[in-house]
């Protein structure tokens, strides 16, 4: 099944390179990605300290009484974890993809059955000794492995209905269980795999339709219905005017428009009558956080105040007033980006965005240089998840995305999250480090 641009890659593979031909796994490791990983983790750790820092009660950054000390434990164990992931025979990931996936599904179900609700969520598994695990985090890499395994065996381009259904089932089964655990935010992440599917041959129409549907959904809440429909009609008219082929499909266009009208009206019904109150509030907070600054808009308003007060250069490390004095809730986990924005200003925020851009571009590069479809697809799955977390997490702090409780990768406080992303990323790096052993290009 020849996929991917062989010409370009073949040349690179053939080129002699001392690093690529290194015999040890660590010699072949993509150290650039590892560097970005550690930069992000360290910056995150310092910002976690900045959140808890209090000028009248200075606690050492290493103290285990505060989050930064605890995070250091997660970082340390994360290093052990990554070594294990790299040292393990890389073939394990492909061969055991389905068993791992199955095991995680069982773990999710088990969690749903036995977990004590924590803040309404039944997603935490108490391991005893104060250690808790959120299997939903582990579901991300497991699902990514299963998807990659499946796609290495079938081709999406053949557009077999059966294969597509199976793929959808693999992707959304964990999401459904996670929704049942009342962790809708984490479940949404699974939608991000659509980017990987797109790369592997999914019709771009799905991406376009999905994107348009999301845009119409949000615009319905922002713009009066009549204006929105007039705008959509005008765009469609313009498209037909520009492309004569669409002109011939006039009936299809009319049907599409009717569909849009139906969607616009059902969104209203959906938001107000189907969504749970806290979900409604998150969406409403996105649209107009000022409407109820002390209620559902509090997080967004305070987050924007914190970031906005940072200015160009920021207030300086440990100098932030908004983040330090608890004005922004979930400060060290979901709203960690506020600390950057406030203390390091636009410069710091933009550097962080740049780091994520760099990381994501590098992962795409790594994915593309894989010889196996399994490796490449897995790379795209990794970047999809990181991208989704980045878009939503940063977007919600600056009022461009609804408030969804998902962490900023490598940055936010929390063991489950850090481990989950470490596993996700270093499986890819392990596969990548062994890519030259793949003899066959599929």
């Amino acid at each position: 099944m020849p996929t991917g641009g062989q010409g370009l890659l073949k040349e690179r593979v053939v080129q002699p390179s001392s690093r690529r031909q290194s015999t040890t796994v660590f010699g072949n490791l993509d150290w650039f990605t590892v560097l970005i990983y550690f930069v992000l983790v360290c910056l995150g750790w310092m910002n976690i300290y900045a959140v808890v820092y209090s000028p009248d009660n200075v606690v050492n950054i290493f103290s285990f009484d505060i989050n930064s000390g605890k995070q250091l434990v997660w970082i340390g164990t994360g290093v052990i974890l990554m070594i294990v992931l790299i040292v393990v025979d890389y073939k394990v990931y492909e061969h055991l993809a389905y068993p791992i996936y199955g095991g995680i599904i069982l773990l999710l179900l088990f969690t749903l059955a036995v977990a004590n609700p924590v803040a309404g969520s039944r997603s935490w598994l108490d391991l005893g000794g104060g250690v808790r695990l959120q299997p939903a985090e582990l579901a991300k890499f497991a699902t990514a492995l299963a998807i990659s395994k499946f796609l290495s065996q079938v081709s999406l381009r053949q557009q077999k209905m059966k294969d597509q259904m199976i793929l959808a089932a693999i992707t959304f089964l964990p999401a459904v269980i996670i929704i049942l655990q009342n962790e809708t935010g984490s479940a949404l992440v699974f939608g991000a795999f659509i980017l990987a599917f797109f790369r592997e041959g999914m019709s771009p129409l799905i991406l376009i339709i999905g994107g348009s549907a999301a845009a119409i959904f949000i615009l319905t809440l922002l713009v009066p219905k009549l204006y929105l429909l007039i705008g959509v009609a005008a765009l469609m008219g313009l498209a037909m005017f520009l492309d004569y082929r669409l002109m011939r499909r006039f009936k299809t266009m009319i049907a599409l428009f009717v569909l849009v009208v139906g969607m616009v009206f059902s969104v209203d019904y959906f938001v107000n009558d189907i969504l749970q109150p806290h979900q409604q509030n998150r969406i409403k907070a996105l649209i107009n956080p000022e409407a109820d600054p002390l209620g559902y808009g509090w997080n967004v308003t305070q987050s924007k105040i914190a970031i906005g007060s940072g200015g160009f250069w920021g207030k300086g490390f440990l100098e932030g007033t908004q983040t330090k004095f608890d004005f922004v809730p979930e400060q060290s986990t979901d709203f960690i980006f506020c600390t950057i924005g406030e203390e390091h200003g636009w410069v710091g925020s933009t550097i962080l965005i740049g780091l994520f851009m760099l990381l994501m571009m590098r992962i795409v590069y790594i994915a593309e240089r894989q010889k196996s479809v399994f490796g490449r697809t897995y790379g795209y799955c990794v970047v999809s998840v990181i991208f989704f977390h980045f878009v939503i997490n940063v977007g919600m702090t600056i009022g461009l995305a609804p408030v969804v409780g998902i962490p900023l990768p490598f940055f936010s406080y929390g063991g489950s999250s850090l481990w989950s992303f470490t596993i996700l990323l270093f499986i890819l790096l392990a596969i990548d480090a062994n890519r030259n052993r793949e003899l066959v290009r599929q």
Partner: protein, 610 residues
């Protein structure tokens, strides 16, 4: 199949677009839009106003008149006030349950998270009681500040009071430095000298967390300013004399104003009935205020400067004589017969010269003297002549401080009434009135209204033989204690000094052997010059007036006593004036011990009118 690999560019483009959009959005909220910075400041930086100590006020001998005492406001933060035993709270504060609920509602309406006052001005004793129980009432805390306190019960009307600034004042640009909840002088000295007394507020910037808990000073206090205490002031009042005056007037209605003639310094300022200024400092301030405002005796009516509807009576004869002397229509030896067909009089020797007329307060004498003053024959037409004469007379009278505000340094002063040609023209028509219409002015009745302050000031004029210094209550402001120059300007009357001598002689006779005998201090060698008066009162018993100054040779005190329904000046007002003078001159009462008893018995109020 290259086209699938090219999809990586689409994906990378999506990443880049999001990154750029986010960076631009951040640029907007962090660099362009400044509203977030302000919001952050109001969020985390709490401005704490440091209220300055209000200036203290001392009396002329260094006795403390007004001080600051600690009071405690019980504050509530509705958000934190959970599971409150409202009944217990109400009992603790001694308020009704409904009242407590009403206050909860008010606090919640004001703000859910910001503190507001639940109970104002608890005393130290109340505070001690409540503090022990406060632990059971989350969301409540005590805010200490200072209120005015008075170590005595005197001088309420002159001192005035402070209270929370009104919404109307807040809108007024004159008060632009004030904030809601600030205290401001509302009457008397407190109001007139507000700008000196208030001092300067300080500001402290504190960092607070989301629950409003103090997290230390902002930038190490670089922007903090200290409060500057208000300036202390020295009053002209003699607290002992003041308290004694109130002691004498307790139970009566009326005024006492005593002035040091040379300086215009007010020594005593009694408005009876009076009130304890401490009533306006405690938590029952509002209740007390309403009670006083509504009381039938009009306690809040500041009589010495506001009671300007009453004619001065016979004391005005002195003014008339002085003007007649100045105009040359009489001289000290002019004699008139006591012709009772002109105006009623009481038995006394007749005819009399000026001195005798003053001593016996002979009504017909002054009828004739005033006629000579008004009708000087400047016009053949008797109407025009009267009009011209009245105009000329009025100009003289105004130089005595009658008919206009003297300019005392507290607000609310009334100007009084002095008959004018305009007034008569309006009432009777132009050229329709003549001397027979207005003759009662000659004996101080008719279209005349004089405040007790103006009466006392008149005595100061006589004592000074022709000038007065604007009466005032504040001698100096601030540490250096320099007298305020503007308070010591002399105002000369139109009457030359030597014309005062025969009047003073007559006034001495009034006290020695006339109607003012009850004010005589001959026993201790002090010559008091005085004049009694009776202000006709159509609504009831006449009001008694007595004005005096002493000692005759070197006047130290000029005084006016006005006793409502006191009937005759000689019976009620004169002994009070005498006692005040003795108290001031000797610091004790010996010569007039009997009179003191008489005054305090209030029997003068029961003497049957003729």
């Amino acid at each position: 199949m290259n086209y699938l690999e090219n999809r990586k560019y689409v994906i990378q483009a999506i990443f880049l677009v999001v990154g750029i959009v986010y960076a631009l959005r951040l640029f907007y909220i962090q660099v362009i839009d400044s509203s977030y910075k302000q919001a952050a400041e109001t969020n985390a930086i709490k401005t704490i106003i440091q209220y300055p100590f209000r200036g203290l006020i001392y009396d002329r001998n260094g006795e403390l008149l007004v001080q600051n005492t600690p009071v405690y406001d019980l504050m509530i933060v509705p958000k934190e006030a959970r599971n409150i035993d409202t009944l217990r709270l109400a009992n603790m504060l001694d308020i009704t349950l409904e009242d407590a609920r009403e206050r909860f509602k008010k606090a919640r309406t004001y703000s859910w998270v910001k503190p507001s006052i639940f109970q104002q001005m608890l005393s130290t004793a109340d505070f001690a009681h409540i503090q022990d129980n406060l632990i059971d009432f989350p969301g409540f805390y005590i805010n200490a500040r200072t209120a005015r306190g008075y170590p005595h019960q005197s001088l309420g009307h002159a001192l005035g009071y402070i209270a929370e600034i009104s919404p109307k004042q807040l809108e007024d640009s004159t008060y632009k430095g004030y904030r809601p909840g600030d205290y401001i002088g509302k009457a008397g000295i407190e109001m007139a000298y507000e700008k000196y007394l208030m001092g300067q507020r300080g500001v402290k910037y504190k960092m607070v967390n989301v629950r409003g808990i103090d997290k230390g000073s902002f930038k190490d206090g670089a922007y903090d300013t200290l409060s500057i205490a208000g300036q202390n002031m020295v009053s002209t009042i003699d607290l002992d004399l003041q308290a004694y005056g109130e002691y004498l007037m307790n139970g009566a209605k009326g005024s006492i104003v005593a002035i040091e003639p040379k300086t215009g310094e007010i020594l005593a300022y009694v408005s009876a009935p009076f009130y304890d200024p401490n009533l306006f400092t405690g938590k029952d301030y509002g209740k007390n205020y309403m009670q006083l405002l509504q009381d039938p005796d009009k306690t809040m009516f500041n009589r010495p400067i506001m009671a300007d509807r009453n004619p001065p009576g016979s004391i005005f004869k002195l003014t008339q004589a002085l003007i007649a002397l100045e105009d040359g229509v009489i001289n000290p030896n002019t004699t008139y017969a006591c012709n009772k067909s002109l105006v009623n009089c009481h038995p006394h020797p007749s005819p009399l010269d000026l001195r005798g007329a003053v001593q016996h307060s002979c009504n017909p004498w002054f009828f004739q003297a005033y006629k000579a003053l008004i009708n000087q024959g400047k016009s053949k037409n008797t109407f025009t002549d009267t009009s011209l004469g009245l105009k000329d007379w009025r100009e003289h009278v105004l130089t005595f401080g009658f008919g206009k505000k003297l300019g005392i340094d507290i607000p609310g002063e009334k100007s009084g009434i002095i008959a004018s040609t305009d007034l008569y023209d309006r009432v009777y028509g132009k050229n329709r009135w003549k001397y027979s219409t207005i003759y009662s002015l000659s004996i101080g009745q008719g279209e005349l209204g004089v405040t007790p302050l103006q009466m006392a000031n008149f005595m100061a004029i006589v004592a000074n033989k022709g000038y007065y210094v604007t009466p005032h209550l504040i001698r100096s402001i601030g540490e250096d204690g320099k007298p305020l120059a503007e308070n010591y300007e002399r105002h000369y009357t139109s009457v030359k000094p030597h014309h005062f001598d025969p009047i003073i002689e007559g006034m001495a006779e009034v006290v020695r052997a006339g109607t003012g005998r009850k004010a005589s201090l001959d026993k201790i060698g002090i010559t008091v010059c005085g004049k009694t008066g009776t202000a006709q009162n159509p609504q009831g018993p006449d009001h008694a007036v007595f004005v005096a100054f002493a000692p005759k040779e070197d006047p130290k005190i000029a005084i006016a006593v006005y006793v409502e329904h006191g009937k005759w000046g000689g019976q009620s007002a004169a002994p009070i004036a005498g006692l005040m003078i003795e108290k001031y001159m000797t610091d004790s009462i010996s010569a007039l011990k009997v009179q003191e008893k008489w005054v305090l018995s209030r029997e003068y109020l029961n003497i049957k009118s003729k």
